[in-house]
């Protein structure tokens, strides 16, 4: 065995050269080299052949999707779950419209690469394209959980809002905000949702952050911030912001509303400060100062303020004229009220204001002015107001018709101004004694009621305006020399020296604006560019955003 082995080795070592040397006829060295080169080339060629991936890529490039898909499916069936395979399969399935399989591949891919933002985005897009809303929302939530994205936040918030899932919407905006989301519309929306929960401190924080960036534009939003700041104890900050808003927008309506809010929350000083800071002599806001003075019973001061205001005012706005007339009457200066009406043009003054003015002028026996005002009041309105009609008759020297008209007047329902007028007319028609007695009775009644309740009793004297609504007319001017009858002075009975709380009458002088706003709906109720809501827009609806919410025509 050993010999054999040794011989074999000898042959192997020494045999080849021997063979070559001994058989030179058919084995040539160059042939040998060629053989080696040939097989070498074969090997290299084999190694250079494209692998499956390259073949698939080439097939796809050449549009042989079917063959590419076949290869990929084969690989998938053999357990290949590589990202590349799944991705290519998903692409091809999507291209040919095999959606269940495309979805399967994408889900596998997303599960294998949970941190791959591109894959996760692709999955979400696929759900959106295939209208799987639950899957879409879930995919967006998952994306957001991994990484903050402003567009994802916006989309997700919109989806929840659209479907009316308000809690989810609120939660999502809050979560996004913590991570840096600053889209103004959605932060304001969060404030509105939070306000609905009653958390005004949080509302103040939210809106303050928006307003600090000068992006709080909506009147309602500003009002909400103002109120929330007041409720959160930030009255001075509220005032400061209000002043800034006014300087930026010159929106008198908003400031007047804010002043109302301050008055309603018993912050008269702050209201007056705000009015003084933003108001200019002669404008509607500065007129509020006088009204606030009257609210606080500073009649003399208010009267002189109004005189000064009138001197610089042009009184163009009907609403301002109306307010001025009423304030002047309230400040016991009917002649000033008349001058305001004259300046504006009596024919343009509201009929209700004219009636109040005429009554006050008649009460203080300003005949000339009374006649001028009376001429502008419609006969129907005069006829419907017995007291005023009586004043007209007296003015025309017809005591008998006046007497008849006066007998129809419900004296107990008259306010102080009208009582004074009634008393004067009674005197003019020869029934002074009756008037005196009646006034004494009323005064006694008021005094008694005041003693009982500590507050004046409207009762029969419940102040009512010319149209039967809340009192719109002024308190009377007490002029004992001109009016010998015991007419109670403004807010007081003539008998009792007890001052009546000023609110009884004044409270109703201006329209209350607690949670209501005077009808200013001559503006758009929903500005098209509103942040919170837009009028549901067709493609060409005014104020539409640039993108069209409707399917584009083909």
């Amino acid at each position: 065995m050993a010999d054999v082995s040794m011989g074999t080795i000898e042959r192997m070592v020494g045999g080849l050269p021997k063979v070559m040397m001994t058989r030179p006829g058919w084995v040539k060295p160059h042939l040998l080299i060629m053989v080696v080169v040939f097989f070498g080339a074969l090997g290299v060629g084999y190694l250079l052949l494209p692998d499956d991936n390259e073949r698939i890529a080439m097939l796809e490039r050449d549009g042989h999707d079917g063959q590419a898909l076949q290869l990929l499916e084969q690989r998938f069936a053999n357990g290949d779950r590589k990202q590349r395979t799944l991705f290519q399969l998903q692409n091809l399935y999507e291209e040919k419209g095999d959606l269940p399989k495309a979805r399967q591949m994408l889900v596998l891919l997303a599960a294998a690469r949970p941190r791959d933002a591109n894959v996760q985005r692709r999955l979400a897009e696929f759900y959106r394209s295939t209208q799987d809303e639950a899957g879409y929302i879930q995919a967006l939530e998952a994306r957001l959980a991994r990484r903050y994205s402003q567009p994802v936040c916006k989309e997700l918030i919109g989806l929840y809002r659209r479907s009316g899932q308000f809690d989810a919407e609120q939660r999502t905006i809050a979560a996004c905000r913590i991570r840096g989301y600053r889209r103004t519309e959605d932060i304001v929306r969060l404030a509105h949702l939070t306000a609905a929960d009653g958390n005004m401190a949080e509302v103040a924080a939210l809106l303050r952050s928006v307003d600090d960036r000068r992006r709080l534009k909506g009147e309602g939003d500003r009002l909400m911030l103002f109120v929330s700041l007041l409720e959160a104890g930030g009255a001075d900050e509220a005032k400061t912001r209000a002043v800034r808003w006014y300087k930026g927008s010159r929106d008198q309506g908003l400031v007047l509303r804010l002043i109302d809010v301050l008055v309603d929350s018993n912050r008269h000083d702050l209201a007056m400060e705000l009015a003084r800071e933003v108001g200019r002599p002669g404008d509607a806001i500065s007129l509020t100062v006088a009204e606030l003075m009257l609210d606080r019973d500073q009649v003399v001061a208010a009267r002189s303020y109004l005189k000064g205001w009138f001197e610089v005012s042009k009184l163009r706005e009907p609403e301002a004229v109306s307010r001025f007339i009423r304030a002047a009457l309230d400040a016991e200066d009917p002649l000033l009220a008349y001058k305001a009406g004259e300046l504006h043009g009596l024919s343009a003054v509201a009929q209700g204001d004219l009636v109040a003015l005429a009554e006050a002028l008649s009460a203080v026996d300003q005949r000339e002015a009374f006649q001028a005002v009376k001429a502008q009041i419609s006969p129907e309105l005069i006829a419907s107001n017995a007291l005023l009609a009586a004043a007209v008759e007296v003015d025309q020297g017809k005591p008998e018709p006046a007497r008849q008209l006066l007998s129809r007047v419900e004296v107990n329902a008259l306010d102080a101004w009208r009582l004074q007028l009634w008393a004067r007319l009674m005197t003019s028609t020869g029934r002074r004694a009756t008037a005196v007695q009646t006034l004494r009775d009323i005064a006694a009644g008021v005094a008694n009621a005041g003693q009982r309740s500590g507050a004046p009793t409207p009762g029969s004297g419940s102040p009512t305006g010319p149209n039967g609504g809340p009192l719109q007319s002024p308190a009377p001017v007490v002029r004992p020399d001109a009016m010998p009858l015991p007419v109670p002075p403004r807010g007081q009975s003539n008998v009792s020296a007890e001052p009546a709380p000023p609110k009884l009458i004044r409270k109703t002088v201006r329209k209350r604006r607690t949670t209501k706003r005077p009808p200013r709906r001559n503006r758009l109720r929903r500005p098209p560019a509103s942040v919170i809501k837009k009028p549901a827009p067709p493609p060409t609806w005014n104020g539409l955003p640039a993108s069209v919410p409707f399917p584009a025509p083909g």
């Binding site: 549009g63 109720r525 009028p535």
Partner: protein, 765 residues
Amino acid sequence: MSARRWNLPILAIGIYLIAAFGVCVVPGHRAQALEIEFSGRSVKLDILALYDRRQERAPHLTRIHQFAEMPLNHLGFRLTYHDVNAGLPSPGELARYRGVLTWFAEPLAEPDKVLDWLEVALARGLKYVVMGAVAPPVSEARLEQVNRVLARIGLSDHGETVDMPWKARVLERDPEMVGFERPVDKALPSFSVIEARRGDAEPHLVLEAPLGSGTVQSTLVATAPGGGFADDDFTVHYEPNTNRVRWTLNPFAFFARAFGDERRPIPDTTTLAGRRMYFSHIDGDGWNNVSEIEGYREAQKLSAEVVEREAIVPYPDLPVSVGLIASDANPALGGNLTAGVIARRLFALPQVEVASHTNTHPFNWQFFESYDRAEELRLIESHSAPALSLRERFTRGVFKVAGRAMPVSQSDKYVAGSDSLPRTYMRQPFDIKNEVAGALKISESFAPPGKRAGIYLWSGDTTPFSAAIRTARLAGVYNMNGGDSRLDAEYPSVTYVPPISRMAGDERQIYAGNSNENTYTNDWTGPYYGQFMLVNTLANTESPRRLKPFNLYYHMYSGERPGALAAVRHILDIARKARVIPVKASTYAAIANDFFSVDIVQVDLFSWAVSRRGSLSTVRFDDASQLAVDLTRSRGVLGSVRHEDSLFVSLDPAVETAVVTLRGRSAERAARNESKTVEASLVDSRWALSGLVRESCGFRVTAQGFGTGDMLWLTSPRRGFRVSVVKDGKELSQETRWADDQGQFAVRFAPVAVNPVTIRFACHG
């Protein structure tokens, strides 16, 4: 005894009416029938829609058209638009209207005039439905008059607004009426204080806000016998992040209640012979594009040919209207001769209806209303054409040297590649006759002799002007397209389902039944499989209420991408299996068009005469689960079928004035079970039926349709019929079948009725 005396007059009237109907159904007594019809009470279906042209520049751009008209159409109402700035209709013109609808949000130019007119109009008994404000801007001076108008619907406006709505709460909400697609927002908007007089108005949404030490309530949605009111903020809601609109108010319930939901037949444009209509139409866009689909790309096949082979030829049972863009087949304008060859093959197929998709494919129709060629040329010049390739330049040079006309290439500045120019083919000046009538003639020139074009399909923005529509009408064809109906997760609201039509001046454009693949594929940028999602709209417009027919609408460029083609085939396969009646697109357009002319007269408590209905052959009764058609007292009625809570009644197109009489469903069932007669009524049919003639024992009817003729009739249980199909006097088939234990008589015919056949049901046994 006294009870009998009380009933005598009613009995007498009943006997008279029964006798009268007996007379009606006897042939040769038409005059008497008419006498009865016109002695009845006309059912008013017209509603006057006021809009402000300064804010909403055309009727189709109004809120009313975008949101309200579809639900109103569904309820059977037809809208006439009127601009409040153009003078309001005289009282004499109001007689035909059931009511007035307004949806003002912006200030009117002359609110006082509108208020004056409303007072006069409403005094004549018109119902008044106000969405938003009555006549903005509201002022204190105008408030009294506004309240006089609102008083018609039991409401009054306090002239105040709650501007701290976060303190308000929903006090009362009618879930049937409010919260339709979206609940009332948690963050309430500011709202006006509207008071409802209980008893006069029925509040559906009431909010309450604190005021001083008390509260104030406001009714923001209400209906009343005189109409209805919905505050603007509680009608539709616009969501800005996703750019979508949804209803808060239920428009179907609201309009039904506000305009009167008395029992009446509703003309229906979705259903024929008891089945949902199926129709398909193809716009020619992309006809000459080379397909990228494997197997076709290698042979450089055009998309149109791919569609022909894959989506038309294999579906002979599903008709399709193919709209050729005439210039696509004209090489001189930039088209391709092969296009004509394909058109010729397509139009020769029996299931293909010849149609036109314009001549030069306008994108922007308004541009051509006051056409200026100089302006068009300026636009052409301003859009730089793509640079010519070396090969193209060489070819042009050769042609120029040879003195021959140059082939049109993509670099041709007169061929637009997108809608940035007014139309696709601009070499010749625009001419409306050539654009419409000329294009129709070109389409017909590719069709077999005698086969006429049936419909004109609008292109581009699909908002043709009045003269264009008129030209199509005068050319003798129906017109269609636009609307882009969607109701799915992407467009999740019925606000995206358009009404039946759009008015341009006095002319009517019929909207397509569904949107095409363009909106599903992001303006053909992909993903191209998007039209698979059409199934969602099809399902959502079928239930809970059938709003639209089944319409497969696509372009020839769907033959370019495998995903798009797969989607089309998927929908075709669904249609093939669905319980639908396949019709041509022009059939649907005719029915939709005739919706607007139907006359309905109520002849007694449960009977209505339906006339002037043209091609429209279905009326619907809603909330009719307990009602059935009384065939013995009806005339021109083929039968009825239930879908959801509605009863769809199939009318015989051959009968000019049909009379539909209802009775209780239980009575109908009992009568059928006990009946020994051969009375049979149609449930549904895949073929359109007309001219039903009752014979001594059995009946015959004319049928026309595509594919197999599946039919279901209702007769007495186990009744047998010998059924034969006759065409041109020749009996094609005959078989005997029996109804089942419920009286359902199902029958299927071979596909032989592309041209009308007569089907005879003769008693057997």
